[in-house]
Structures are given as C-alpha cells and as structure tokens.
C-alpha cells in the first residue's frame, strides 16, 4: 500500500490562467459641470457607489455597499454587514440621499431610515448588460445630474464585437465541486458572453439562471472554454483541481485546460467597469483558444 500525503493543491498553475482582477480595470469616468442636489450620499444598491464615482461625484459619497469593491472607493466606509444594512452606521454619516435596490435589506432597517426623513431612491436592478444604462441614468437622476448620466450611458451603448464560434460554459464553483452550478439563461454571464461574440452553451439549453448539473450534463455540452470566477477556481484547487473533477476533464475545455477567470465582484457587477471588462475578456478568450 503506497501512502502519499498529498497536500492541498495551492492553485499552483493559477499563473497560467488568464485572470482579470478588479485592479486591472480603470473606472471610466465622465465629467459634467452640473451641481448635484444631493450633498451626502449613501449608496447601498448593488454597485451603485461605483456609478456615483463614474459620474464624477465621488466626493459626495459618504457610505457604500459591499459590492462596490474598486480600489478608488476603499476609503469610503461600508454600511452593510454581510449584506445587511447597519442603520446606526448609515445614520452616523448624516446622509441626505440613500440609494437602494430591491435586494437591499432588512426591511426594518429601511423603515427606520424612512422615518428619519432621509430621501431614499429605489434603483432598478441590473443583472444583464442591457440594463446597465438604465441603472446609470437612474443614479444620475437621483443625484440631480442627468447630463452626466447620459454621457456615462452612452459609453456602454457603443460597444460591439464580431461573432466568433467559441462555446463557453460559465461554472459557478464554491468548493462544493461535484454538483456544478452551471450558468443558464439569465445568469448574467450569458449576456456578457453573447455580447463579446461567443456562445454560452449553458444558456442555449438551460432555462434557469443557475442549474445543479452532473458531470455527464457538462460533458454533453462540450464547451471549448470554461469561464469562472477567480475564487471559484481557487476553491477547487486551481486548474489541476478543476480538470480532475469528473466531467470537466472530458470536455474540450478541460482537455486543453482552456479556462479564463474574472474577479468575483467584477464579473456580474454590471456597472461602469463592465465596459472596460468586455474587450479584455474577449482578448483573453481568444488567446486561450490558441492553446
């Protein structure tokens, strides 16, 4: 009996996998001479702090949500604990405008803030590329800077990429590896993959955003390349851990180790940084396809 004490693979080959991290992308920023009606803004809606900064008004931000992770915002305090709004922290910042969306919770916290007579604006959710512009315009209106909103929304409307016949599967992995969560229609990743000219094999066959699939279902899709979040790849022990999972190694993507990763907070953020993400992601996919 041979006893080999293998240590946990520490994503040894991660360097060979092209990754896009939050620091790799600059925040596109617009400038308008409008004077905002709000002076102290707490942005709790998913990614809304980033939009305020991209509109050119970072100086009026006094609090932010946990998902706005870009380095430029790191000095602004986070007003949520594990996605729950902390009333005391928000009130201590004395805001005159709070931006929320339908996922901002708990309801009791929002009730208290409303009673405090602070203006609260509900933003539309943005889980696809097509709704980014509407969200940016909504934030701009709430701040009282509609022109800046139009300028920012214009950036994303003007992105087009040629079609390429690459089949991509988006896997959501969290170490719970064996039963894969595969992105289907509405995962968010589908709109990214399609917009940069590739095919999302999950979205073509699966009606739900995230689907627990077995190894064979993944083999059946035969993806050329796998798109993952950075920490997702780490959670299965890097590229070697990934291809040793039943099902992955039997796809063209697994056989050639064609994988691209994007920072967890960035891939599905659907905000101003998405526009700088798209060309980088497309370039990484095309480079991997040469493997």
């Amino acid at each position: 009996m041979s006893l080999t004490f293998s240590m946990v693979p520490q994503s040894a080959n991660a360097s060979s996998i092209p990754n896009i991290s939050a620091g790799d992308l600059s925040l596109p920023t617009v400038h308008s001479k409008e004077i905002p009606t709000a002076k102290r803004v707490v942005a709790l809606g998913n990614g809304s702090a980033e939009i305020v900064a991209a509109l050119g008004y970072r100086s009026i931000l006094v609090g932010r949500d946990i998902a706005s992770t870009m380095p430029e915002l790191s000095r602004i305090p986070v007003d949520t604990d594990a996605h729950q709004v902390s009333v005391e922290r928000v009130l201590s910042q004395n805001p005159d405008l709070i931006l929320i969306d339908s996922n901002t919770s708990p309801a009791s916290a929002l009730g208290v803030l409303r009673k405090a007579k602070i203006r609260i604006v509900m933003l539309p959710n943005s889980w696809t590329l097509g709704t980014v512009a509407a969200k940016e315009i909504a934030v701009a209106r709430a701040l009282g800077v509609p022109k800046a909103g139009m300028l920012l929304a214009h950036l994303i409307a003007n992105t087009h990429f040629p079609k390429s016949p690459v089949k991509i599967a988006f896997l959501y992995l969290r170490g719970t590896a064996a039963i894969y969560l595969i992105g289907g229609k509405g995962s968010g990743a589908d709109s990214i993959i399609e917009s940069i000219g590739f095919h999302d094999v999950g979205a073509q066959t699966l009606a739900h955003p995230f689907n627990a699939l077995s190894a064979e279902a993944l083999i059946k899709m035969q993806p050329d390349l796998i798109l993952l979040m950075t920490k997702g790849l780490e959670s299965v022990g890097g590229i070697n851990g990934l291809v040793s999972l039943p099902g992955v190694g039997q796809t063209p993507a697994g056989k050639s180790k064609r994988v691209v990763t994007v920072d967890d907070s960035l891939l599905l953020s659907f905000g101003p940084r998405t526009i700088t993400l798209l060309p980088k992601l497309r370039a990484n996919v095309l480079a991997e396809m040469k493997k």
Binding site: M1, S2, L3, T4, F5, S6, M7, V8, P9, Q10, S11, R174, G175, T176, A177, A178, I179, L206, N211, A212, L213, S214, A215, E216, A217, I219, K220, Q222, E234, S235, V236, G237, G238, G241, S244, L245, P246, G247, G249, Q250
Partner: protein
C-alpha cells in the same frame, strides 16, 4: 444446504455484475453503441464518459457500498445493538470531522491517503468516546451516539464555515453523500484501506459469533476482550473512514443491508459479512444510478435516497420485537 450456502452469494455476485454493466451503459449521455463495444477504445465522447466518469463511479459504488454495509454488520455485532448503524451512532460524523480537519489544516487534501487516515482516526476516536460515555449496550448507547453525531457534525459545520481551503466541500455534501466527486485516483486511494478493513472483519468473525452469545461465553472461550474490541473498532474505522472521506455519509446503508441479510441467512458473521458486502454494493449501485439519472440533467444527493428507503425500515425495526434480538442479553 450447500445450494443455499453458495447459491445466494453467487446470485448476488451476478446481480452486482449486471448492475455494474447497466451503470456503464446508461446515464444522461445516450451512448451510440453498447458499452461492450467500447471496451479497449478511447478518444470519443462516449468512451470518455464510460471509462473516465461512469466506470470509476460504479467501482466506487461497489467498494464503498460493501464497506458501509460490512461496517454496519460489524458495529451491530461488536456493540451488540441492532440499531448500531455507523451514521446513527456518530461514527460517520467522526469520519466527516476527521476528513474536514485534515483538509482545513492543509495536512491532507480531499481524496488523498492522508485524508483517509485522518477520517479513520476520526471514526476510531468517535467510537471510543461513545464507548466511554455509554458502556452498557442498551438504548442509552444509541441516544449517546445520536448526541455525539450532533456535536461532531456541528463542529464540522463550524470549521467549514470559517475555512477557505480548496476542496473542503459543503456540509450538505458530507451529510447527504454523493459519488459525484469519485474518479480513478480516489478509488485507488481508498480501496487498500477498505480492503484491510474487510480482511480484519472476516478475521474477527468467529470471535464475533462467540461475543454475540454474551460477554461471559466470549471470556470463557479465551478471547482477549479489550484487544478484540479495539480490533473491531479499527476494522469499522478502516471501512467507514476512507468511504466517508470520499463520498460523505450515506445514511442507513449499514442498517438496512445487514438486517435484510440476517433475515435470509441468520446471524453467522462470516456469511453476514460476505452477503452484506455484496448486497451493499448492489444497493449503492442502484441508489447512485437513480441519483444521477432520475432528475436529469440535475443530480440529487445519494444519501437522500438511502434515507428515504432506510428510515422507514428503522421505524419498522423499532416497532418490532426483533429489534431486541441482542440488546436484551
């Protein structure tokens, strides 16, 4: 008598082989030809599916099904309690905790031999703790085991929720079990441990027969009781630990299978181990086949299925007088 002695194992062996081939043939991907025509071939999607995904998984089902069923028979014998099923009395939870501690500390990754060892230690320690806490073999032993299982599972959950180590999996993976992570390397790693456990179980079978007649008769037959108990616990640990470290806890297999076998052939431990091993393989092959095909393309946790079948059996056993066949001694 001869026909019964050899006929039943032979029949079960045939069923195992038949189910094994069916497991290779059927799944989400419909093969273009019979699995037999793919023997020795590689390259195609069909061949990769059969040899790289289904084959190691079916092999894992055979090995782990046998291990869990034999461990159940052994636990019921050594603890002289018909309900001493490794998952019920906290032994599987010990294996889970051992596995998770191995992964979380970075000592041994998922699917490694080191992880089999930490899981085996986890079972042995859990068994010793429950023996110290509840040395008499009656109902208190079972309740102690249930409490122990609950404590060990909570500690596992606690470690999982704070660990960021790769491969630590979710608590639901460990609690409900799944063969979906099994590949050739996992089967290669766990099989030697399990084989050692099976040999040790058979080695102890005569002494178990004496032991089941009562502590005094075992003593008068010259059995060194403390060594015998330790060896039995080691055998259970070698069977359960590596199995759980690869696929998580699979509830009720160790309860269901030995009881069915006892109904057929009686309590002799050598026959009990042989038939339990075969029937355990069969049950796990069937359960895994259902887990991966019943709700396709989705896969359901295997332990849910074995619990759905096993838990009603437990209720029947609790209500029947048969449940007292050893605990009254």
């Amino acid at each position: 008598m001869m026909g019964r002695k050899f006929g039943i194992p032979f029949l079960l062996l045939l069923v195992t082989i038949g189910l094994f081939i069916l497991s290779l043939q059927f799944g989400i991907i419909h093969l273009h030809s019979s699995v037999l025509s793919l023997i020795g071939k590689g390259g195609s999607v069909d061949a990769a599916t059969v040899w790289d995904v289904r084959f190691p998984r079916a092999l894992g089902a055979v090995v782990i099904g046998a291990a869990m069923a034999i461990a159940g028979a052994l636990a019921q014998g050594i603890f002289r309690n018909p309900l001493a099923e490794p998952t019920l009395i906290g032994l599987s939870s010990g294996a889970t905790l051992g596995t998770i501690v191995g992964i979380a500390t970075g000592f041994a990754g998922y699917g490694s031999a080191g992880n089999c060892i930490t899981a085996t230690l986890g079972v042995a320690i859990a068994a010793l703790i429950s023996r110290i806490l509840a040395p008499n073999k009656n109902f208190g032993f079972l309740l102690t085991g249930i409490a122990l299982a609950s404590i060990l599972t909570s500690v596992s959950g606690l470690i999982i929720s704070v660990s960021h180590q790769a491969g630590i999996q979710s608590l639901s993976f460990w609690n409900f079990g799944s063969l979906s992570l099994i590949n050739f390397s996992t089967v290669r790693v766990i099989t030697p441990f399990i084989f050692a456990g099976v040999l040790l179980a058979f080695f102890l079978s005569k002494r178990l027969n004496a032991w089941s007649l009562g502590e005094s008769s075992a003593y008068f037959l010259g059995i060194n009781l403390s060594r015998f108990r330790l060896m039995a616990i080691l055998a259970i640990a070698l069977l359960i630990g590596p199995s759980v470290s690869a696929v998580g806890s699979i509830a009720f297999l160790g309860l269901l299978v030995p009881h069915v076998v006892r109904l057929i052939i009686g309590p002799d431990h050598r026959n009990l181990f042989l038939l339990s091993g075969l029937l355990g393989s069969i049950v796990l092959l069937v359960a895994d086949f259902l887990a991966r095909t019943a709700f396709q393309p989705h896969e359901i946790p295997l332990g849910l299925l074995t619990s759905l079948i096993g838990a009603p059996v437990l209720i029947i056993l609790l209500r029947s007088r048969r449940a007292q066949w050893v605990s009254e001694q």
